[in-house]
């Protein structure tokens, strides 16, 4: 019997991202996150210290209440897991949801 990591279908990828836009993960960023996550077939979850949210559910993503500076763990399982993690990391940390960082942030 194969264990998860041995088949392509069960590919698992994980990463940690940090919220860098000033307003945090409010509804609009959460919607962008869900939009990007929904482009991939794999299961994606996002966790903080307290809960785990389905990355394709706007309600669950809003419940993370991730403020500026919060670190979130993203886990993708299944087809295109790597691509999904890469696209979501780009959205959160590079594009910062197309929102500005805090005014007093140094970088």
């Amino acid at each position: 019997m194969l264990t998860g990591e041995e088949t392509l279908e069960e590919l698992v990828c994980e990463t940690t991202v940090e919220i860098k836009n000033a307003e945090g993960l409010h509804m609009r960023p959460a919607m962008k996150f869900v939009d990007v996550a929904s482009q991939f077939a794999c299961d994606i979850t996002v966790s903080n210290d307290e809960m785990k949210a389905d990355a394709k559910s706007i309600m669950e993503m809003s419940m993370l209440a991730a403020t500026y500076g919060t670190r979130l763990q993203i886990k993708a399982e299944g087809a295109q897991a790597e691509e999904a993690i890469s696209a979501l990391t780009d959205l959160v940390e590079v594009r910062m949801f197309d929102e500005p960082p805090p005014e007093n942030a140094s970088g």
Binding site: I58, M59, L64, A66, Y68
Partner: protein, 157 residues
């Protein structure tokens, strides 16, 4: 954060008769002004800002609930007003279904974290079918206050 800290029960609208989306938003903002939570002279501007935000992307999250919101300098702290509609209102919701419970959230511009905390609490409960059902049945401000106080105090909610 608790519901009791930010929901303005005096601004409850038990039944939005025949209101469309924009009228419902206007009614909720007026109710907050009437309850003294926002200055009356800011009501129109806040209503327009909420509608503008709603036009950019619907806050109708599906399952018959919408959470229109805006950040505005006239708000000194996060506040919410809640309305019900028996007939259901077209909010261009994600699931394309009518909205029966509307929770308007007005937040100050300088405390994004409080806004997130309020949203977290709202969605934590709105996710539950039982809560949505009870919310829809609140026909008096007192019933709403009872429901939300119970949700605040009973961790099993």
């Amino acid at each position: 954060m608790k519901f009791q800290e930010f929901v303005c029960f005096e601004a409850t609208i038990p039944e939005l008769d025949n209101a469309d989306r924009d009228a419902a938003i206007g009614a909720l903002v007026s109710a907050l002004a009437k309850a003294g939570r926002i200055p009356a002279q800011s009501a129109r501007e806040i209503t327009e800002a909420v509608i503008k935000r709603e036009n950019e992307a619907s806050t109708g999250m599906g399952k018959g609930v919408a959470v229109p919101h805006v950040k505005h300098t006239a708000a000194k702290k996060v506040m919410a007003a809640i309305a019900q509609s028996d007939a259901g209102i077209d909010f261009a919701a994600l699931d394309e279904q009518p909205v029966y419970s509307i929770i308007l959230l007005v937040s100050p511009t300088d405390s994004p974290d409080d806004h997130l905390q309020a949203m977290e609490l709202l969605f934590k409960h709105l996710q539950k079918e039982r809560f949505r059902k009870f919310l829809r049945q609140c026909r008096l401000p007192e019933q709403l206050e009872d429901l939300l106080t119970e949700a605040d105090e009973d961790p099993s909610w």
